[in-house]
């Protein structure tokens, strides 16, 4: 028994006992995320927000563009739960549609950012050399130009459609992701399992897709989660300046801007979208924190 030969007969595998039984690392991360109340609460809030946004596609309490459904500057009451604005439009209805805009902008930009940033980052980090040189220079150039300027110019050229705004914000936001993925790829490429894959004749595209990307996915998800509120805030800011989505489509930023001149007589017009915006930004940030803790293997006992 103790002198059993290395080539074991079927009844005496040394590996018959597992050191520890566990599911995949993803399931493990999910288990840890579930224990984080703040992150879980934020996730629930965001799901509710998503549900509200989806409902608003089909139904809102009042039509969002019709003016004078309520007295102007109406404070919240039982008919108009969040009151009405200076044109007598129902704020709750507009807030619901605004959620749609915010989520579309946040998630939309991050999808573009993820696709572009991950691709560029993987290529720069894995192939290094002159490719990396060009990409790194490009990243630094984009960091050098003020993002507001870029976005403003793009919006002026392309117009104020939601898709154009998403594109304009993505153009100013892809560098963080690219830089993160490049760094991850850089260090993962030196790991022995990547060397082992190369040694056994794995082609570069497969090394990137099977070995490097899945191991960088944790930080990518975290980065994207933190990127969503940044994009939402950026859109709100553009709308506040009057350069966001085309009215009458309500955006939280535009709603706040609308109420700004009447802040003394009807503060709720500014407060309602501002609070919605803050809660959403906070929720995404808490969720991002929770995801980081859950996905970071160094946190492991």
């Amino acid at each position: 028994m103790a002198t059993a030969p290395g080539v074991a007969t079927p009844e005496e595998y040394v590996g018959d006992t597992l050191a520890r039984e566990q599911t995949s690392l993803w399931a493990d991360a999910w288990r840890r995320l579930k224990r984080n109340r703040l992150a879980l609460g934020s996730a629930v809030f965001l799901v509710l927000l998503l549900v509200v946004a989806i409902i608003s596609v089909f139904w809102t309490p009042y039509p969002i563009w019709r003016q004078g459904v309520a007295p102007t500057y109406q404070t919240p009451n039982s008919d108009f739960l969040l009151g009405a604005d200076q044109a007598g439009r129902d704020i709750l209805s507009r807030l619901m549609v605004g959620a749609q805009v915010s989520l579309e902008v946040g998630v939309g930009t991050q999808i573009i950012v993820a696709v572009v940033g991950v691709t560029i980052g993987l290529i720069a980090g894995y192939f290094r050399g002159w490719l990396d040189g060009i990409i790194s220079t490009l990243i630094n150039i984009f960091y050098g130009i003020p993002d507001l300027l870029v976005a403003l110019i793009l919006v002026l050229i392309l117009g104020r459609g939601l898709d154009k705004i998403i594109f304009a914000i993505a153009v100013t936001r892809w560098m963080d992701m690219a830089r993160l993925v490049r760094g991850q790829t850089f260090s993962l490429r030196e790991r022995e399992f990547v060397e082992a894959a190369r040694a056994s004749g794995t082609r570069p595209n497969k090394i990137l897709s099977r070995h490097i990307l899945p191991n960088a996915l944790g930080p990518i998800i975290v980065q994207a989660t933190f990127g969503i509120p940044q994009a939402i805030l950026f859109e709100a800011f553009l709308s506040f300046l009057g350069l966001g989505v085309q009215p009458p489509t309500p955006s939280w930023g535009a709603m706040a801007a609308d109420g700004f001149h009447a802040i003394r007589i009807a503060p709720h017009i500014v407060l309602v979208p501002a609070i919605a915006l803050s809660l959403t930004l906070m929720a995404f940030n808490f969720l991002g924190d929770g995801l980081r803790d859950a996905l970071d293997p160094r946190q492991k006992r």
């Binding site: 080539v7 079927p10 060397e195 040694a199 056994s200 004749g201 191991n215």
Partner: protein, 331 residues
């Protein structure tokens, strides 16, 4: 002895050099003009202390790193001249076992996928046949074949090293470079892995380059031993001969430093003191690289200004020392 010297070598390294850029125009001279052969079916041990270039040399042979200059002939084909698909095809015959059983397996892949990957890379087997082969490989390395859906982190260090070995033999390679395959494992597990590697060698006619820092392990598993110091091979001999009759003072110092688990012998041994520490490979010493620490060096001539060639001192025993006959015998 398994070695049949008349046969053509499986691998021949000629004047292999590897320099890494170290900034400001300096370079780390990790491997400097190294020559050696590996014959089919033998195990060659490569020992040396950290930073001597042994792991780099292993990666040059498996072409995970490109050489700076020199040639590596594998069955007569110069690996350093190959690239792209031609090199990839050659990798089937040249595999590697890594030191760290924790970082050498992709944590996001199942054990079955890890072992199957080399087979897929060359389109050797598909579907059921591939699964069967993976299970067979698991059984060969002593693991339960039904663990193929498990993830690496569910296994202990020794078990993981077995997975790494299964991956390395999946393509039935001719040469396996094992880079410190047991140094991360517990003592009681080390013997399991050494025995497994020896069994596999017999079963599949493998040739090993076994890289380690522990001369007693290397001596146990190897037919021949090469000792490296600061990027150079300083001595090559049969493993019994190198222990009984070291011809390089560095080998002698290494041998005297290795503790023997026997208090009576240990209390009588005297270690050979090497003065100072290993110099930087950015600016290696002139002449013999070992001379600043050598107890028998004659400075400046010849040791500090003349580099001793690695030459035959006895049959099958090469050493790079001007005064190899002065190295005291017996440990």
């Amino acid at each position: 002895m398994k070695r049949v010297p008349e046969r053509a070598p499986l691998l021949r390294a000629e004047e292999v050099v590897k320099h890494f850029p170290a900034g400001l125009g300096a370079s780390v001279k990790a491997v400097e003009r190294v020559n050696f052969e590996i014959y089919p079916g033998e195990t060659v041990g490569l020992v040396g202390e950290s930073g001597c270039g042994k792991s780099t040399l292993g990666r040059l042979i498996t072409q995970l790193l490109p050489v700076t200059s020199g040639n590596i002939f594998f069955e007569g084909v110069d690996l350093t001249k190959l690239s792209g698909e031609k090199l990839r095809q050659k990798r089937r015959e040249l595999q590697m076992i890594f030191q760290d059983p924790y970082s050498s397996l992709n944590p996001r892949m199942t054990v079955g996928d890890i072992i199957a990957e080399p087979l897929e890379n060359f389109g050797l087997l598909r579907g059921r046949a591939k699964d069967k082969r993976v299970q067979e490989l698991l059984r060969i390395v002593g693991l339960n074949p039904y663990f193929n859906n498990r993830y690496p982190h569910e296994f202990s260090g020794g078990q993981r090293q077995r997975i790494g070995i299964a991956r390395a033999i999946a393509l039935r390679p001719k040469l396996i470079v094992a880079d410190e395959p047991i140094s991360a494992l517990d003592v009681s597990i080390q013997a399991q892995i050494i025995n497994l590697m020896e069994d596999l060698q017999k079963e599949f006619q493998l040739t090993y380059l076994f890289i380690a820092h522990d001369l007693s392990v290397v001596r146990h598993i190897s037919d021949r031993v090469m000792v490296m110091y600061l990027g150079k091979i300083v001595e090559v001999a049969d493993s019994a001969e190198i222990y009984r009759n070291p011809r390089h003072p560095y080998t002698k110092a290494l041998l005297s430093s290795i503790p023997i688990p026997d208090p009576e012998i240990q209390s009588k041994r005297r270690i050979v003191h090497l003065s100072g520490e290993i110099p930087s490979p950015v600016n290696p010493p002139s002449g013999c690289r070992f001379h600043p620490r050598c107890p028998i060096a004659q400075v400046p001539t010849p040791c500090a200004d003349l580099e001793p060639p690695l030459e035959e001192k006895a049959r099958g025993h090469r050493a790079a020392c001007h005064f190899s006959e002065k190295v005291p015998v017996a440990v």
